[in-house]
């Protein structure tokens, strides 16, 4: 069937279509509805989506990705809760607001300091997986609002081996 083919080539946009298409990363471990939310936020940040744009119709998402319609609805509800999207009865869900972005100069500075940190990590002998593990671990601790035990993540390069 041609469901997947349609996803890739869309130069023209018929009325009612969305500027974006969703994709899924089954190995990411991120719940499907959150992947949809993140992709909308990402598209907002990068300017692929603007206020007033329509999000993909539930039916189209379901047909393209073969996922549960409740999952799509949950993602869209989450976007509504965040004030980023709003449903219009009988039409679909539309982008409501732009995402507050970090000003570009700041972004440049942050990027620069991160590059400096990566160079330090490289010098210290940390490989890419180690960097990711460390960063993820620190980010998690940071989210929890307590800093300790940050270095432990480095040791757990092994991912869950249940199969």
């Amino acid at each position: 069937m041609d469901i997947d083919k349609e996803v890739n080539n869309e130069p023209r946009r018929p009325a009612g279509a969305s500027p974006i298409e969703f994709r899924l990363d089954p190995s990411s471990g991120v719940p499907t509805y959150l992947q949809l939310v993140h992709q909308v936020e990402h598209a907002l940040r990068l300017g692929y989506l603007k206020p007033g744009d329509q999000l993909p119709k539930v039916r189209d998402v379901v047909a393209a990705l073969a996922i549960n319609p409740n999952t799509v609805l949950k993602g869209y509800k989450e976007l509504e809760t965040k004030g980023l999207a709003a449903g219009r009865p009988g039409q679909g869900t539309f982008v409501q607001a732009a995402l507050s972005q970090v000003a570009l100069p700041e972004l440049g500075a942050l990027r620069k300091s991160l590059l400096g940190w990566l160079a330090d990590a490289d010098t210290a002998g940390l490989d890419e997986d180690g960097v990711v593990a460390l960063f993820t671990s620190v980010l998690r601790d940071f989210d929890k609002g307590r800093g300790g035990q940050a270095g432990r993540g480095v040791a757990s390069g092994e991912t869950e081996g249940v199969a």
Binding site: M1, I3, R59, I67
Partner: protein
Amino acid sequence: MNVIESRGLGKRYHSTWALRECTVAIPAGHVAALVGPNGAGKTTLLNLATGLAAPSAGGVTVLGGRPAGSPAALDGIAFVAQDMPMYKNLSARDMLHLTRNLNRRFDQQYAETRLGELGIPLKRKAGKLSGGQQAQLALTLALARRPRLLVLDEPMAMLDPIARHDFMASVMTAMVEGKGEGEEGGVSVVLSSHVLAELERVADYLILMSRGRVQVAGEVDDLLASHRMLTGPAAEADRYAERLSVVHARRGEAQAHLLVRGTADDPVAPGWEAHPVGLEELALAYLREPAAAALPGPDRARRGNASQPEVSR
């Protein structure tokens, strides 16, 4: 409304219980996955719910209290059996004709339109269609009956990856189409599989079965939110596990993984990391600990650590 509700349901073949003490309530509006190893009782439960078999103990109703197998129940259920049985020498058109005449309700136009969209020629004999097309034909016959409950027994066992994707996309689309704007009128889906991975994106309700019993039942989101994986030093695992509700533990020389019941807000001991669990990880953990159970209702929810998993060497 519950699409399938059973109480103390059991089925015995000679001296063997294929299903016993099965009490489930599957709410409407979900894609419910019946998961378990071969011989767990999945097909038996589905056969009892669709009225294809009579229970040896207990009872089962469908679609809000209609006795399984009654005309009222059969009108609302469409069932696609494991091997997608079809008269191989009948054309797709003849299969539509047959199904229309065997049922009180059949949407001929929907069926023809759908087969047209799928590129399945009406003249072609069912036996000459590809595996994916046969599955789609069987699904079309089921959906054209406009069921409230669609029951699929191992629907994807014989399909290649693309056919699986397309088949599932068709089922999910049918859920949306039946729904319209309001909440009512949608198709609920109950499907069985021994391959959980292929259901992970689809199912939002899980019934885990093993050895003829229901081991875990609940909304997937609730189940995932109430379990997590703790990773930390193996030397502390025993002591830590005593304070937790451990479903399953795995440990190496230095590092241990404990799959525990608990939410993301629960505190974690220093030196331990908490990770969210996936559906497959969760299911495997329970299947490896047959004594552990997670069932709804305070009277039946046993604590996972009652079984004392193999934390101690």
